[in-house]
């Protein structure tokens, strides 16, 4: 009885080991099963909701929808965004608050999406670009509004 158990144990062990070897042998001979992709050459399409970085949306006239309300700056949990505002003087001589510089610290950003949800005018969005490596750390502090851009007419 003992001997029978001993031998059947060996038999089951050998069978399971051979089963494993059969699978790895199959993968070794069938290279079409390979699931890794050669990243820089082959780029997989990213999911639509992938969050890579925050961008300020500019249209073709170099106009954005940011009113400089600093709602995103207040919403940010770790001080990634800093809005510097200025006062535009309109033709009638009326002062109006406007965006001067949208400072974005990419190195602090956790891609939590809270700023995008806080924005009342949908001026910012999450972009898909994820290749952010730079040689100088200072390059990660970005100015999001393009030079010469101004607020779109009618956005309050």
């Amino acid at each position: 009885m003992f001997l029978k158990k001993y031998i059947s144990e060996i038999w089951r062990a050998v069978k399971s080991l051979l089963k494993g070897m059969k699978l790895t042998g199959y993968y070794f001979t069938h290279h079409k099963e390979i699931i890794t992709q050669n990243y820089p050459e082959v780029k997989q399409p990213l999911p639509e909701r992938f969050r890579g970085e925050v961008v300020l949306i500019h249209d073709e006239n170099n106009e954005h929808a940011c009113t400089g309300c600093t709602a995103c700056e207040l919403a940010c949990p770790n001080g990634t965004i800093k809005i510097i505002t200025k006062f535009d003087v309109s033709a009638e001589g009326k002062k109006k608050k406007a965006l001067d510089t949208f400072v974005y610290h990419l190195e602090l950003c956790t891609m939590c999406n809270l700023c995008i949800e806080a924005c009342p005018t949908s001026a910012i969005k999450m972009a898909q670009n994820f290749e952010h490596s730079v040689f100088n750390r200072n390059d990660l502090t970005k100015k999001l509004n393009k030079p010469g851009s101004k607020i779109r007419e009618g956005v309050e």
Binding site: I10, L17, G20, M21, L23, T24, G25, Y27, F28, H31, E33, I34, I35, T36, N38
Partner: protein, 358 residues
């Protein structure tokens, strides 16, 4: 026909005709030493690359594919990196033993190459106790491993070295018994005699059942002796960081790494000599035409083919099986392999006495 045998004979004759016998022997020794070092370097490069490629394909990956053609220069680049790295000796380590250990492991691996026949009549030293020599030298490397573990002044290193010691001492037994099975069939410990006895068929076919059992035991035991998965408890990355070579860096680490791979080559070469006829071509009984065609393939190619086949088998094991626990490891040896190999030795003796082998 140009073969390794004629090259060595020509070199020998040329040296003897130009310088005195003593000097000829000394020059030959130097040449052999250089060849062995060269073989080590090439083997290290090829086997590491092979391991990485094989593991990649078995895990449905691509593996190294950037440096050189399809990643063929990857290991050369790695070696360059290791050469440039600092060989750190930790504070509190026994400096002399710490620095000596990799060389002992390396020397043990080099010494085993002596009686291995790489081709027909191409052997460094055809000693008449070849098999005994191999099994005794192969246990020296454990001293180097224990030395490395103890001198590092690190708990992981010490644990890894102790595990390795227990493992090698246990598995040496069943490896020895499986080698003995072949010695019984041949009646000689000399490597060239063992190979010549396989002229009309390799021992794995000639010795049928007991030879196959002893081959399986041998391949399990040598996998354990070379500290490779599923018996890589001495290194066990997930438990002991890197086991006995945790504290080593740079070229000293590379020597351990190289010794590991050369050991794999050496044990596979021994396996090929004992069970697959070394450099002997595949001969089937009375099929003279077939045998004649097989003779045209050079003997060195036959040897390398068999050795790399066995190395592939061991790599296949490594990338398929999960690692054993220490108690499971020792259970496997003392409760399963040792009784099995003792019974198998008896079976082989009966087969040899009754002449049931072909």
């Amino acid at each position: 026909m140009l073969s390794l045998e004629t090259i060595t004979n020509n070199v020998h004759d040329w040296l003897n005709s130009h310088v005195s016998n003593t000097w000829a022997t000394i020059i030959e020794m130097v040449i052999v030493g250089l060849l062995v070092i060269g073989l080590f370097a090439i083997l290290g490069l090829i086997l590491v690359l092979m391991e990485r490629k094989v593991s990649a394909f078995m895990q449905i990956r691509v593996g190294p594919n950037r440096v050189g053609f399809k990643g063929s220069l990857q290991t050369l680049a790695d070696t360059l990196k290791l050469v440039l790295k600092e060989g750190l000796t930790p504070k509190g380590a026994d400096k002399f033993l710490f620095n000596l250990a990799p060389y002992i492991v390396m020397c043990a691996a080099m010494l085993i190459l002596a009686p291995i026949a790489f081709a027909n009549n191409f052997q460094i030293w055809d000693i008449n106790i070849g098999v005994l020599y191999i099994s005794s030298i192969s246990s020296i490397s454990v001293i180097g491993i224990l030395m490395a573990g103890w001198a590092s002044n690190n708990k992981y290193s010490l644990l890894g070295a102790m595990r390795s010691g227990a493992q090698i001492v246990s598995y040496e037994l069943s490896a020895g018994f499986s080698v003995l099975c072949i010695v019984i069939l041949t009646g000689s410990l000399k490597i060239s005699d063992i190979i010549n006895a396989q002229q009309n068929g390799w021992f794995i076919f000639k010795g049928h059942i007991p030879a196959i059992i002893s081959f399986i035991i041998f391949i399990i035991a040598v996998t354990a002796e070379t500290n490779r998965a599923p018996f890589d408890l001495a290194e066990a990355e997930s438990e002991l960081t890197a086991g006995f070579h945790t504290e080593y860096s740079g070229m000293k680490f590379a020597l351990f790494f190289l010794a590991e791979y050369v050991n794999i080559f050496v044990v596979c070469a021994i396996g090929a000599i004992l069970f697959f006829g070394g450099w002997m071509p595949l001969h089937i009984g009375n099929w003279h035409g077939f045998n004649h065609i097989m003779d045209y393939i050079p003997s060195s190619l036959w040897f390398m083919l068999k050795v790399f086949g066995l190395i592939f088998l061991i790599m296949w094991f490594r990338w398929t099986f999960p690692r054993l626990r220490v108690d499971q490891l020792l259970n496997l040896e003392w409760k399963y392999l040792l009784p099995l190999s003792l019974v198998n030795l008896l079976l082989m003796t009966i087969v040899a006495i009754m002449g049931w082998y072909f």
